[in-house]
């Protein structure tokens, strides 16, 4: 009888993930043993510490290119770059999540299980401090995302998908205000997310049947073999893609996005818009570039159609929105379309430009949602567009920052939005996908309209009685905004260092 061999484990390469999962477990223990008063400080510090430590671990690993623990995890250039991006963006999201100055008790409810509208609920909405479970949940989600972009076999990828999705479902339900909307968002996200996971899992099963293995390298080898069942291959690929397209919010799998973005607490929306996008596209890149690049001619037109559909749906529906968070949600749908254009270049340029776009968009969207948390009235955030009229007169600084971010979304030069769009479109033309670029340009024109409408509201409309006040941001939100705006500017003016970084990282191991 053969000895059972343990696979070699490179703990160093796994360290970023181990730190986060460890910290999340400690966070749960702290939740039980720390007095309520000091929980906020302790948990927030732990979260910051963990994310920072994990980021440092990623930096230390920057030269690692290997596949470890029995082929389950690949630590290579794209993995490390995307992990680093998730951690930095996650750190900024944590600043928004940890803010307690803007609103009494913070943006989160203290006990989500209390029936909405009951007397207890009214009381807790008034003064009780928000739940501190959000920190371990966030760390778990970030840890899952790190694993998701590193997963080198389909089952690990599925597990990672669940690890980062489940905390997000919960976080969506924890808004302090508009409890029903928040719970509805969580339920919607959970139900649709479960379907997507089921699709993904079914696809994994078909691919296992097709290739006899779940490691991406095995799938790659099997794809090259024409003797195998093409039905299983295409069926499996389609189902796996559906699961990923759902997470990345690509049409027609985007319908959850506006509702969830609107209902979730705004800091969590920011986390989803920035970090989940990175994770979802990271996994999509790996699946398409590593496992299925042998059938690129078959999926390119299909995904290309999806990209066009996504850009059109996002742009057109963004025009009709009257709620700021929903507008940003549709804008993020359209941006997912631009990202897919970059992915479909299917060359090294495509990989590096998509990664650049993810970081650029992440910072901009964090700043955008950060500003949304500031514009409030007596009932919490005032997200209706009409309420933002004349804000530029009342709070020029915040309005100027928001205008700058909107210009970045519109792709005006000297913002990261322009360089990022230029990068993905350039890669797509290079990869022979000029038709996608044409649609990208056309939808950019459409998208400029809603952004410009907001700019008009901010600056050119007279402020009315109902124009809400802008709360004075606490230190954490200020820091997040400054980082978001500064990064958006810096990546627009001096993008060269990050572009070089993405280029150096643009090589998958198989």
């Amino acid at each position: 009888m053969e000895d059972l061999k343990l696979p070699g484990i490179d703990y160093g390469a796994l360290l970023p993930m181990l730190i986060l999962f460890g910290a999340a477990c400690i966070g749960i223990l702290l939740e039980a043993f720390t007095p309520r008063r000091s929980r906020q400080v302790v948990q927030l510090s732990l979260a910051f510490l963990a994310v920072t430590a994990s980021f440092i671990a990623v930096i230390f690993q920057h030269d690692t290119r290997k596949i470890t623990i029995g082929g389950a995890v690949a630590v290579d250039g794209p993995t490390l770059f995307l992990q680093g991006s998730i951690l930095v963006l996650g750190l900024v999201s944590l600043m928004l999540i940890g803010e307690r100055q803007i609103e009494r008790g913070g943006p989160f409810v203290s006990q989500a299980a209390i029936t909405v509208g009951s007397q207890k609920d009214v009381k807790q909405a008034g003064d009780q401090p928000g739940a501190t479970e959000v920190y371990p949940l966030t760390i778990f989600a970030l840890g899952g995302m790190l694993l998701f972009v590193a997963a080198n076999d389909l089952l690990t990828m599925f597990i990672a998908l669940e690890v980062f999705s489940l905390p997000l479902y919960l976080l969506c339900a924890l808004a302090r205000r508009r409890r029903l909307l928040s719970q509805e968002a969580a339920l919607k996200y959970f139900l649709l997310g479960s379907y997507a996971s089921a699709f993904f899992l079914f696809g994994v099963a078909l691919i296992y049947g097709f290739s006899g293995g779940i490691a991406l390298g095995q799938v790659h080898a099997a794809v090259a073999d024409p003797q195998r069942s093409q039905v299983l291959l295409y069926g499996g690929l389609a189902l796996i893609a559906i699961g990923l397209l759902f997470k990345a919010a690509l049409a027609p799998f985007h319908v959850w996005t506006p509702d969830v973005y609107q209902g979730a607490p705004t800091p969590v929306t920011a986390l989803m818009a920035a970090c989940t996008k990175v994770a979802a596209f990271g996994a999509l890149l790996r699946i398409l570039y590593v496992a299925f690049d042998g059938v690129r001619w078959d999926f390119q037109p299909v995904l290309g159609t999806i990209a066009v559909l996504t850009m059109l749906v996002g742009a057109i529906l963004a025009i009709t929105q009257t709620d700021m968070k929903r507008l940003l949600a549709y804008s993020s749908v359209a941006n997912a379309g631009y990202l897919l254009v970059g992915v479909l270049a299917l060359n090294e340029e495509g990989l590096s430009s998509t990664m650049f776009y993810l970081v650029a968009y992440g910072f901009a969207v964090l700043a955008a949602f950060g500003i949304v948390t500031l514009v409030r009235d007596g009932d919490g955030e005032a997200t209706h567009l009409a309420r933002w009229a004349g804000l530029g007169r009342k709070s020029p600084l915040v309005a100027a920052a928001f205008t700058f971010i909107l210009l970045a979304f519109a792709g005006i030069p000297l913002t990261s939005g322009f360089t990022a769009k230029f990068a993905v479109f350039g890669a797509a033309v290079e990869g022979g996908q000029t038709w996608l670029v044409v649609f990208g340009v056309i939808t950019s024109m459409l998208l400029a309209f809603p952004y410009l409408r907001v700019v008009v509201l901010l600056w050119l409309s007279e402020p009315s009685e109902t124009t809400p006040t802008v709360s004075i941001p606490g230190f954490l939100t200020s820091a997040a905004l400054v980082i978001g705006v500064a990064a958006t500017f810096a990546l627009g003016v001096v993008p060269a260092p990050l572009i070089d970084l993405t280029r150096d990282a643009a090589q998958f191991v198989r």
Partner: protein
């Protein structure tokens, strides 16, 4: 002297000025205005020094500077000026101090912040100088897009009626053009060997596949045709020109619209010579339609600012046919027209602004016999009108004449139709002057106290340099044409066309055979 980094300093100087002026508190409006005016004078002085340092008979591109920016895309901060860019830079440098002085009291009527207004003007000067000084297509595109932002806020925040509508329309039109150009820039970058350097790209241009080149030409051309604007992409200009403050409107048509025609000369023609020749007939037709159509619309306008905007569209038709006639005469005429139009229409807009500021209305029907109240101002208005209809002795006459004879040698039919535009120009200018300043005095006008005040010293200082230049260049355009000619000749040789010989010589040769 030529080693001095003129262009980068000239570009950055107004940006620094804009930041300084923006930091002045709202209450100290006078200080902000003085700084802005002084700053624009410094830019003017530097431009004059640069003009003197420019060697008209030397290299095509001078004052070249290049700094690394995004190495992996080969995008660089490259500045260089040929004769065409140089005269445009000079025009910008002259018009901005004039406009700043002309806009001195524009903001006072509203509760808007004066420092912000003048800061936006300087920021606009920064983008304008940048767009003409850039010799790297990526850099050019960046300036081409960001120029919208200061102008958008100038129109939207400080404009007159329907300013929001006009500002959004202006922004969206230009952005649409810009995005077409973005697609073309990306395409050019990929097929042109991953570089943005204008010189390298013109060398690589010959190897671009014919069909691709035509599509890329179209991408650039649509952007420039919207910016210029050529018929049928012109509808934003009357709204923007009508709503913008008069000074800003002078800059809008005097400087910014020239980016379109400049872009066609520098980028469309030199990068895609074959496509330019292929599209030339269509462009000529658009130019001729623009001349006639816009002139007819101008005749029917009752709003002074919209009227002047329509005259501009007609003038851009002339510039367009001059460019696409592909003769050196017509090309030089077009570039000279760009300069003269900036001076003449700029003057006209500024004078209209003086009338509007007094009367508080843009409508011609609100005036009538104004010459009896403000005779000197009415005289300046008449002069500006005559310059704008290209009366001999004023600068625009020379350029219009050059365009027409240059076009006539190759496309007589277009030249003949375009000449009809001159007659229409006389009609709309003279009618405008007559209905505004001549005839019986409108009783309502006499009751407006501000109308009793004739041209002030400040206003005299504003109009004097423009009037002087219009007369000077009307009699002695040589200093300008000397600078323009080599650049136009070089552009024509890029396109690969040669001037036709004089017809008489051709006839003699035929006889000799």
């Amino acid at each position: 002297m030529n080693d001095f980094p003129f262009l980068s300093i000239l570009t950055l100087l107004p940006l620094v000025g804009a930041i300084v002026v923006a930091l002045v508190p709202k209450a100290k409006a006078e200080l902000a205005k003085t700084i802005a005016f002084g700053w624009s004078l410094v830019v003017l002085v530097l431009s004059i020094v640069m003009w003197i340092a420019f060697n008209a008979g030397g290299d095509r591109f001078q004052f070249r500077e290049s700094y690394a920016w995004i190495p992996s895309w080969d995008a660089r901060f490259t500045f260089a000026a040929d004769g065409i860019a140089l005269v445009m830079l000079m025009l910008i440098a002259i018009l901005f101090p004039v406009v700043i002085l002309a806009s001195w009291h524009d903001v006072e009527k509203s509760n808007r912040s004066a420092p912000i207004y003048f800061s936006l003007l300087l920021a606009f000067e920064f983008t304008m100088i940048g767009v003409f000084a850039a010799a790297d297509i990526f850099l050019f595109y960046v300036f081409f897009e960001i120029m919208l932002i200061p102008m958008y806020f100038i129109i939207g925040s400080f404009g007159g009626q329907r300013r929001q509508y006009a500002a959004v329309k202006f922004f969206l039109y230009s952005l649409v053009g810009g995005l077409f150009m973005l697609a073309a820039v990306i395409g050019l970058w990929v097929v042109g060997g991953h570089t943005f350097d204008w010189t390298k790209l013109t060398e690589a241009a010959s190897s671009i596949d014919q069909n691709t080149a035509r599509w890329l030409f179209l991408g650039f051309f649509v952007a420039f045709a919207i910016k210029a604007p050529f018929f049928p992409f012109h509808t934003w200009l009357p709204d923007a020109g009508g709503a913008a403050p008069a000074g800003a409107a002078a800059l809008l048509v005097g400087v910014m619209d020239k980016v379109g025609t400049f872009g066609i000369l520098r980028y469309c023609l030199s990068l895609f010579p074959e496509a330019s020749r292929w599209f030339a007939p269509a462009a000529l037709v658009l130019g001729v339609i623009g001349i006639i159509y816009a002139a007819l619309l101008a005749v029917g306008q009752n709003d002074l600012k919209r009227l002047v905007s329509y005259t501009s569209i007609a003038h851009f038709g002339f510039i367009g046919i001059g460019i696409f006639a592909f003769t050196t005469q017509a090309g030089t005429g077009s570039v000279l027209y760009m300069v003269n139009h900036g001076l003449a229409t700029g003057l006209l807009f500024i004078v209209v602004g003086m009338f509007v500021a007094r009367r508080g209305s843009n409508l011609i029907s609100d005036f009538g016999g104004a010459g009896k109240l403000v005779p000197v101002l009415a005289g300046v208005f008449f002069f500006a009108g005559l310059a704008s209809l290209a009366l001999p002795g004023t600068a625009p006459f020379i350029s219009e004449f050059l365009v027409l004879i240059g076009t006539f040698t190759v496309h007589p039919a277009y030249a003949v139709v375009a000449t009809a535009g001159i007659i229409l120009a006389a009609a709309y200018v003279l009618w405008m002057v007559q209905r505004t300043t001549q005839g019986t005095l409108n009783p309502a006008l006499a009751e407006v106290p501000a109308m009793k005040k004739d041209i002030t010293l400040r206003e005299k200082v504003v109009v004097a340099p423009l009037i002087l230049l219009i007369i000077l260049l009307g009699f002695y355009p040589k200093p300008v044409t000397d600078v323009i000619n080599p650049a136009v000749e070089a552009t024509m040789s890029d396109v690969g066309v040669q001037d036709p010989g004089p017809t008489a010589v051709v006839a003699n040769e035929r006889v000799a055979r």
